[in-house]
């Protein structure tokens, strides 16, 4: 989530000053030792304090906080300009300016309070369970975002841009759903496992097809995954409209029958909450992807091919095979998202819009998470919170939940551009501590 992490894997040139920075600190230290002993303890403490303050101000976390603040301000401006009561009060602004400000405060404060109430804690609730319910809703929304975000992030690390999340989710949902209601007589845990495996395998195969085409023929994965999205959409539409495949018996709507109890992900916190064990699966996927990328030889090959395919090939890595296997794993993760939707969140039957844009949201989640599994987890929960809060905000305050998209995307933009945030808040730049260097140069010139 931090800016330096988000630079990793996506843009190494973003933090050019890391190594020179430490080198300069060494220089500073050396200069202090070599130079004449100036100042007493008080001055030293003061400079240390200043240094600590400077470090805090230039830390990536401050920049992230600044980015969130900026995005919230931008959202407030949008609310302020479109709120009816603010408009009404501003017509007599010069007569009674107070009214405008009260209306502004009510509109903006009400919106963000509703967002918080819908996403984190409902402070108007009577009992504890109702109070914490919003956060469990956040985690429910976050589950598919985390899983699909991991899929996109993993492909990114292998140098592939997987825009095919929609198609992979649709295929996975169809496979998991079909095993769910098409297969009967299998007891609870086994049925669920079968459906999950079917969904994950279907997603993996759909993405693996894109990887295979890329590896075998050199077709660009962006085109291939987009085209496969359309193919999957029409394929699922056909299945949904055909009795005996996915269409609910006795119905003419393009909708599936509900998922039977034996194939459903059980509730994690009891029946009162919508949160299912799907979230735990997503957490396991985070750990699994972290292990795969950072502790396994396959993950090393993924990253090597992603960083520099030529060097990887010279080092003896089969780039074609790596492309296919990374897409297989990525598709499996997106497949988990699709399966968890059908088997956990929406068990009443689904139609061809089951992906609900998650395949595309996953790209933003992966980017915000810096293509790093833990970052994706945090970004997924943040975006889940926005989704959960956005609907509450729309219901309670009448503000379209689309504003959430604006705030979300502004956060990602600002976090990706630390220099801009630092310029706006006049924060010091960690890579610009050049003073000792200049001193050394003059010393050399003198010598």
């Amino acid at each position: 989530m931090s800016a330096s992490e988000s630079g990793q894997g996506t843009n190494p040139a973003q933090e050019p000053g890391l190594d020179p920075g430490t080198a300069e600190e060494l220089e500073q230290e050396r200069a202090r030792v070599a130079g004449p002993p100036v100042g007493d303890d008080a001055v030293d403490t003061a400079s240390r304090l200043a240094k600590a303050l400077q470090q805090t101000m230039s830390s990536p976390w401050t920049v992230s906080a600044g980015a969130v603040l900026l995005a919230i301000v931008a959202g407030s401006v949008m609310i302020a300009f479109t709120d009816e009561e603010v408009k009404a009060a501003s017509t007599y602004f010069f007569a009674r300016p107070g009214d405008t400000f009260v209306a502004l405060g009510q509109a903006i404060g009400g919106a963000y309070a509703a967002l918080f109430r819908g996403a984190v804690v409902n402070f108007q609730a009577d009992d504890l369970a109702t109070a914490v319910r919003p956060f469990t809703e956040t985690l429910t929304y976050a589950t598919p975002l985390i899983a699909a975000g991991l899929g996109v992030a993993l492909a990114f690390r292998a140098g592939l841009f997987n825009i095919g999340g929609q198609g992979q989710m649709l295929v996975a949902a169809a496979a998991a759903g079909w095993v769910g209601f098409g297969v009967s007589g299998v007891p609870f845990p086994l049925h669920l496992v079968l459906a999950l495996v079917a969904g994950i395998a279907a997603g993996a195969l759909w993405a693996g097809l894109a990887g295979l085409l890329k590896a075998r023929t050199g077709a660009h994965e962006v085109i291939v995954t987009i085209m496969l999205n359309y193919v999957a959409f029409y394929l699922i539409s056909y299945f949904l409209a055909t009795p005996g495949l996915l269409q609910a018996p006795g119905s003419s709507n393009p909708k599936t029958p509900p998922t039977p109890q034996s194939a459903q992900l059980p509730a994690l916190l009891g029946e009162r909450f919508n949160l299912t064990w799907g979230f735990v699966l997503a957490l396991l996927a985070v750990v699994g992807v972290w292990w795969l990328l950072n502790r396994s030889s396959a993950g090393f090959a993924f990253r090597a091919v992603g960083e520099n395919p030529r060097a990887a090939r010279v080092a003896g890595i089969d780039t074609g095979r790596t492309t296919v296997s990374s897409m297989l794993v990525a598709g499996g993760l997106v497949g988990l998202a699709g399966a968890s939707q059908v088997l956990g969140a929406i068990t009443t039957g689904f139609s061809s819009d089951i992906d609900a844009g998650i395949g595309f949201d996953a790209i933003t989640v992966a980017l915000l998470g810096g293509s790093n599994p833990w970052g994706v987890l945090a970004a997924g929960i943040l975006f889940g919170a926005f989704k959960a809060g956005g609907s509450t905000m729309q219901a309670a305050e009448g503000i379209p939940s689309d504003i959430v998209l604006v705030v979300q995307s502004l956060i990602v933009l600002f976090i990706a551009a630390p220099p801009l945030v630092r310029a706006i808040f006049r924060l010091p730049d960690p890579s610009r501590r050049r003073a000792p260097k200049k001193a050394r140069k003059t010393k050399e010139a003198a010598a």
């Binding site: 973003q14 085409l213 075998r216 023929t217 077709a219 291939v224 987009i226 394929l235 801009l420």
Partner: protein, 432 residues
């Protein structure tokens, strides 16, 4: 790449004669064979008797071509024979280490399409309007072609433009408002131009000035503009739909004489102004990129910014310049939605057209003319469903709708192959 077959005449003298290197692969022949087999399977599995009525004329032509009624099964099989012949020719050429010429592939595509339409329209009492099929394709390709042109300009300068979707949607939104207020489609078009450039300015600010990963900026801008336009749509446009969201549209302007040529006339010369502009824009962009100093500098910056900087080209300024022009061109495509297609803006009305334009950029190998033809192909794909729904299709409509995308997949895999983007595309330039 096991199927790849390389012949290199290494023993030829290097000095006097030019060394010829021919890379011949079996991919093209393989894909053609695969499509031929699929085609034959379709005809065998779902036989479809009856006649197909091809209509070539429209009312205003010089002379009327009578409705051509052909027995569909023989026609479809005749086309199948052509497919087989082309496939065999491609195989023979490949075996002799020669490439399959493009015209052969075009003949193949035309035969496949004719056969497919003959088979699909068999026995239908309705006419299969060739003019409607092609004219609609030109119309529907407008956002793809403009978007692809914008994508090509940006990428040739080294800035990956994934924000085409944002430029289209932002432009459609702005054009809707301005055209509604001013009651002038031309003003809407100008506003769309500015809106596209404005999105580009944000893209440039983050991608060029702040060196943010261009893919991130592009994807995020797409989300940002969807959120922004949807929010403003429901908060501002819906309450005042009469004044702010009922646009004045471009009407079709028939060009005198030319529009009366049978088939070609109504397809190419009885269209709204925005389409004529597109006919001009494609060669204009090609000329600007390949025959002007501006284009040379732009391509230099996209291939090797450091070298360009060394000879005194301002990399940052050239890139900003290119990105702004790219945004404006894509903006023209966005205007299509609210000044040609519909007379009002709707939430997320571009529906992923920007991503298809992006595919057209890559399909067209970053060349404006090829990218425009790729855009035309996708336009044809979008229009095919309209025509087939009139004729009534013998196989489930979903499969018919899927065909263009499957063909694109096969074409990209078999005919285009490894595409090479501009060398510095996607890389921020840090001076020093």
């Amino acid at each position: 790449m096991s199927a790849e077959h390389r012949t290199t005449q290494l023993d030829a003298p290097l000095s006097e004669t030019t060394r010829t290197v021919t890379v011949v692969t079996w991919k093209t022949a393989g894909v053609l064979a695969a499509i031929t087999v699929l085609y034959a399977l379709l005809l065998v599995a779902v036989p479809h008797a009856g006649d197909t009525r091809f209509v070539l004329s429209s009312r205003n032509d010089f002379f009327q071509i009578p409705v051509i009624v052909l027995p569909s099964a023989p026609l479809a099989w005749a086309c199948g024979a052509v497919l087989l012949a082309v496939t065999a020719a491609a195989a023979v050429l490949t075996a002799r280490h020669r490439r399959t010429p493009t015209w052969l592939v075009v003949v193949y595509a035309a035969a496949a399409l004719t056969g497919f339409l003959a088979w699909a329209g068999a026995g239908s009492p309705r006419d299969l309007s060739v003019v409607g099929l092609l004219g609609g394709a030109v119309l529907w390709s407008v956002p793809f072609v403009y978007g692809a042109l914008g994508g090509v300009i940006g990428e040739r300068a080294g800035v990956v433009n994934i924000a085409i979707e944002a430029q289209l949607l932002g432009a459609a939104f702005t054009a809707a408002i301005v055209s509604s207020i001013t009651n002038s489609a031309v003003m809407g078009l100008l506003a769309a131009l500015l809106a596209g450039a404005l999105v580009s300015l944000v893209l440039g600010l983050f991608a060029i000035t702040y060196h943010v990963n261009q893919v991130i900026v592009g994807v995020v801008l797409n989300v940002l503009v969807v959120g922004l336009t949807s929010f403003l749509y429901s908060q501002v446009l819906v309450p005042a739909a009469e004044t702010l969201n009922s646009t004045t549209r471009f009407s079709a302007v028939p060009i005198p004489v030319l529009s009366e040529i049978p088939v070609l006339g109504p397809v190419l010369f009885r269209q709204p102004l925005l389409i004529y502009l597109m006919f001009l824009a494609v060669p204009a962009v090609w000329f600007a990129l390949n025959r002007t100093r501006w284009g040379l500098r732009l391509r230099a910056v996209g291939e090797h910014p450091k070298a360009a900087d060394t000879v005194g080209i301002d990399v940052v300024r050239t890139r900003y310049n290119a990105v702004l022009v790219a945004g404006a061109v894509a903006g023209l495509g966005g205007a299509f939605y609210t000044t040609v297609q519909l007379s009002q803006f709707g939430e997320n009305m571009t529906g992923g057209a920007g991503y298809i334009a992006l595919a057209a950029v890559i399909f067209g190998k970053w060349d404006p003319v090829r990218a425009a033809f790729a855009g035309l192909l996708f336009g044809f794909a979008s229009n095919l469903q309209n025509v087939l729904s009139v004729v009534g299709s013998p196989v489930p409509s979903q499969f018919m709708l899927m065909v263009p995308y499957v063909v694109t997949l096969l074409a990209v895999a078999g005919l285009v192959g490894r595409s090479r983007p501009p060398a510095a595309s996607g890389e921020p330039y840090v001076k020093g």
